[in-house]
């Protein structure tokens, strides 16, 4: 017992704290009704709910009547679930759209038709029928119950107006009157936004309540048209005793009409309030209502969507509401795409804006929770979302270089990538790179390079402000470089590594002036830059050949020539400020004094054996010179020459002995080609030639040739 008391206290305290009921007193009567502490005199029912004319159709109403009237059997009249009548036509006026005549129409059909014609919820009409004559649940209905079904024009103290008798007229004119209150409020006492004095009990002499002297009255603020209408229809406020009594009897000053309306409505159809429905209605009215762009409603508003959302359909579109997004309309092409894509459950989510038009090219856009729809007459309506949307926005959206989307996302690219085509470019996305736009010349170059399958996905936007007004964009398989003078070209793989090693666009190569050219010897390739060329082969990787080296190299036939591929960069810091670069078929040496010359083959072996540029020969001063007798060749160095012939191999001839041999006629003389290295003994140098031996004595400045 003590525990029970405690629970009850907790319950009522918590309830009071949470819902701020209009009365602090809990109902004491258990006759059954929704908790009347939630009855708000100034907002008995919201407009959205009250005017929700599509909330039930005929079959739904019939099912409802069947359920509520399960225990009914006919009396003077059939039960309402079985009631049928022939109906006459009613002309449309400013309040209702008229009534089409019908034969043997059921009460459910009549209610549904009237609800739509007069824009009043059929649920309201059902409750009205119950509140006035208990027609929904009563057994053995009377004639009176039908002729006074809604109590319209039929006050309890006055004879009913014979013009308004019969069930269809009762329903039609009651519904019409509620529209009359709404549209012609000035003709009735209760108006939205004003506080009215409402009697608790009829202020009549019969009730001993003239001027409310016995039962008093209350000041009630009219929050909405529906509530004002209810007070016009039944101009009494239930007093606290009536509210405390549930469906039961209060005291001698209790009236019950508006209480019972709220009770029945809440028990049958849930809350009389709908945040979402109200928001949709407000939105609809702000768009001009029936005469606005949406046109008339074609459904009720439905709630219970994901995230607590609601929607309602109209002739030309829908309004969606959710607590997170508010109410927004979807119409036209955007609306069609929204529905195609699964509405609020699809990838768009709820709309967070209306469709906004007036963009360039006659474009429109509409924001949704997870995406934006863009449309122009030329491009159609396309969805932009996620990282691609972020990239698109970062570019300035439709005002930016991309223009409008011309496709949705396109899937099926390598590595689970995606792209979306825009008027002036694409945005590519991949899991590892995110989304980046590729436009203009870069896009053409990317395509020429095989797109994502070739150059891979962009991993940066285009970055400009480089030297020579250059720009570059990074892709997973290489970079694209652009300047106004050098053009737009890609640098990839080993070429890119070598290019970077050279200092990229700031380095000796400058910008690329061509794409990589394939098909060279040994499966190699090359790529031209402003100031040099990169050569690559599987064996050597990529190396730059620049300036004089390049001229020498090209003169030697480049990678197709005897030098083959470079296998180092130019290496400087040698004696005499010299430099060299290694190739697969030789080495190129240069100094300012001697120029740039290649040394290769037997000459190179000999040169190295001589100590290279540190040795007696010094740097080469010519390239190898061919065409000597017997297929021989020679190369001039600072301090001598090297000779080669197939028969003799390569040997150097230096100093005075060289001069003497040349005086003899050189390789064309009887001495022929050198066949060994010179040997020095004191002042005498001796060297074997193919045709004999030559000795030269520097002390006497005399030479001797001794034929074999």
């Amino acid at each position: 017992m003590r525990m029970l008391t405690r629970v009850l206290v907790i319950a009522s305290v918590v309830a009071a704290a949470l819902v701020a009921p209009t009365s602090g007193v809990a109902p004491t009567n258990s006759a059954g009704a929704a908790d009347l502490r939630y009855f708000d005199p100034s907002n008995i029912i919201s407009d959205a709910v009250f005017y929700d004319s599509w909330s039930m159709d005929g079959p739904a109403i019939q099912a409802f009547l069947n359920a509520k009237g399960a225990k009914c059997s006919a009396g003077e009249m059939p039960c309402i679930k079985d009631y049928k009548q022939d109906t006459a036509a009613m002309a449309a006026d400013s309040l209702c759209a008229g009534y089409a005549a019908g034969n043997g129409e059921s009460a459910a059909t009549i209610i549904a038709k009237v609800a739509v014609s007069c824009g009043i919820s059929p649920r309201v009409l059902l409750v009205l029928l119950q509140k006035e004559q208990s027609l929904i649940t009563r057994t053995a209905p009377t004639v009176y119950a039908y002729t006074h079904a809604t109590g319209f024009g039929c006050p309890d103290t006055a004879p009913c107006n014979p013009t308004f008798s019969g069930f269809v007229s009762q329903v039609y004119f009651a519904a019409r009157q509620f529209q009359n209150y709404r549209k012609n409020a000035q003709n009735f006492g209760k108006r939205v936004g004003r506080t009215s004095t409402i009697s608790y009990y009829p202020a009549t002499s019969a009730a001993n309540n003239l001027n409310d002297s016995r039962c008093g009255n209350a000041q009630v603020y009219m929050s909405n048209a529906a509530t004002a209408g209810l007070y016009n229809y039944t101009p009494y406020l239930p007093n606290q005793a009536a509210l405390n009594a549930g469906y039961g009897t209060g005291d001698a000053c209790s009236s019950y009409g508006n209480r019972n309306f709220w009770n029945y409505f809440t028990d049958w159809f849930g809350s009389t309030q709908s945040t979402g429905g109200g928001a949709i209605m407000t939105k609809y009215q702000s768009m001009g209502g029936e005469s606005g762009a949406l046109g008339p409603a074609t459904t009720s508003f439905y709630c219970g969507l994901v995230g607590g959302g609601c929607w309602q359909a109209f002739q030309a579109g829908r309004i969606y509401w959710s607590p997170a997004t508010g109410a927004n309309a979807v119409m036209g092409e955007q609306g069609e795409r929204f529905l195609q894509l699964g509405s609020e459950n699809g990838l768009l989510g709820y709309p967070v804006s209306d469709n906004v038009c007036g963009l360039p090219q006659g474009g429109c856009y509409q924001q949704f929770q997870n995406a934006t729809l863009y449309g122009t007459p030329a491009t159609g309506t396309r969805i932009v979302r996620g990282d691609i949307r972020a990239a698109f926005r970062a570019q300035g959206s439709e005002w930016g270089p991309l223009g409008y989307p011309t496709t949705d996302e396109v899937y099926g690219l390598p590595g689970d990538g995606v792209y979306q085509q825009f008027q002036n470019g694409r945005v590519y996305w991949s899991p590892s790179t995110g989304a980046h736009p590729v436009v203009g010349d870069q896009l053409a170059r990317h395509e020429a390079q095989g797109g994502p399958a070739g150059l891979g996905y962009p991993s940066s936007d285009l970055t400009c402000g480089l030297i020579q007004s250059g720009c570059y964009q990074v892709f997973t398989g290489g970079n694209i470089y652009t300047t106004p003078t050098s053009g737009t070209f890609a640098v990839r793989g080993g070429m890119l590594t070598a290019f970077r090693a050279q200092g990229s666009e700031w380095g000796a190569l400058g910008y690329p002036t061509a794409d990589e050219a394939y098909g060279s010897a040994e499966g190699g390739s090359s790529q031209r830059f402003q100031n040099g060329t990169l050569y690559w082969s599987p064996a050597t990787d990529a190396h730059a050949v620049i300036g004089d080296q390049l001229a020498t190299y090209v003169a030697q036939g480049a990678e197709a020539g005897p030098l083959g591929y470079p296998r180092s960069e130019l290496i400087c810091g040698l004696i005499h400020s010299g430099c060299y670069q290694l190739f697969t078929g030789g080495t190129v040496y240069r100094t300012d004094a001697t120029g740039t010359h290649a040394v290769r083959g037997g000459m190179l072996t000999l040169f190295k054996a001589q100590g290279s540029e540190w040795g007696e020969l010094g740097f080469p001063t010519t390239d190898e010179v061919y065409g000597l007798p017997g297929g021989g060749s020679y190369q001039e160095f600072q301090n001598g020459r090297t000779y080669w012939s197939p028969a003799s191999g390569a040997h150097a001839v230096t100093g005075r002995l060289l001069t003497y041999w040349q005086q003899l006629g050189g390789e064309s003389s009887a001495a022929g080609y050198p066949a060994g290295a010179a040997k020095v003994s004191g002042t005498v140098s001796t060297q074997q030639f193919t045709g004999g031996r030559i000795s030269y004595d520097t002390a006497t400045s005399s030479g001797t040739f001794t034929p074999r």
Binding site: M3, R6, V7, I10, A11, S12, V14, A15, L18, A26, N29, S30, A31, G32, A34, D35, L36, S55, K131, G151, F152, G153, C154, P155, D156, T157, A158, A174, Q186, F188, G189, S196, T197, P202, T204, S205, A206, A207, N209, N211, D212, N232, T234, P235, G246, Y247, Y256, G257, N260, T266, D267, F269, G270, S271, Q273, S274, G277, Y302, C303, G304
Partner: protein, 173 residues
């Protein structure tokens, strides 16, 4: 006793998790609730969502109190003033009211403002309504009235009825 306990439990469980422990023990002895218990429970439940009543199968209540038919005559009835105010926007006194339990299209509503030793009147036809005759939008321009406190009386007259309101004070700025 059990029904009270359950009703309390339902509210407590619905409204707060904090009290859930207090009522968890009752679930071990559940019997299907009687109609009376369900009605009582509904009487202490929040209204639920629109379109989703808390208990769709709730039995119809018995002994529903309704407004009793009244049989008084209207000849000595009252006019109820529901609103009498100075409307700054229209610069006029505006009075709304109704004649309860009278539905007539032949009556005339008269507003009389008295004050400063004079009185001003205006008339409008009554509007027959569902359960009353409305006397709405009776308006007297401020140009006809001096600032101060005026007394408004709304009266109604038809071939068969006569009624008047008690005086209501209206302040004219």
């Amino acid at each position: 006793m059990r029904s009270s306990y359950k009703a309390a439990c339902l509210v407590a469980c619905t409204l707060t998790l904090a009290s859930a422990a207090a009522c968890s023990s009752s679930s071990t002895e559940e019997q299907p609730p009687s109609d009376a218990e369900r009605l009582a429970a509904a009487a202490t439940a929040a209204p639920g969502e629109y379109g989703s009543p808390v208990d769709p199968s709730l039995p119809a209540p018995t002994d529903v109190a309704t407004d009793a038919p009244l049989v008084g005559t209207v000849a000595e009835g009252t006019v109820v003033v529901s609103s009498a105010l100075w409307n700054g926007a229209t610069a006029a006194v505006e009075v709304d009211g109704l004649v309860p339990d009278v539905i007539e299209s032949s009556g005339t509503c008269t507003l009389t403002l008295s004050g400063d030793g004079t009185s001003v009147t205006t008339e409008r036809p009554g509007t027959p309504d569902a359960t009353s005759t409305a006397c709405a939008s009776l308006s007297i321009p401020g140009a006809d009235l001096s600032p101060g406190t005026w007394t408004a009386v709304l009266s109604y007259e038809s071939p068969v009825s006569t009624a008047a309101s008690s005086p209501v004070e209206v302040e004219i700025p």
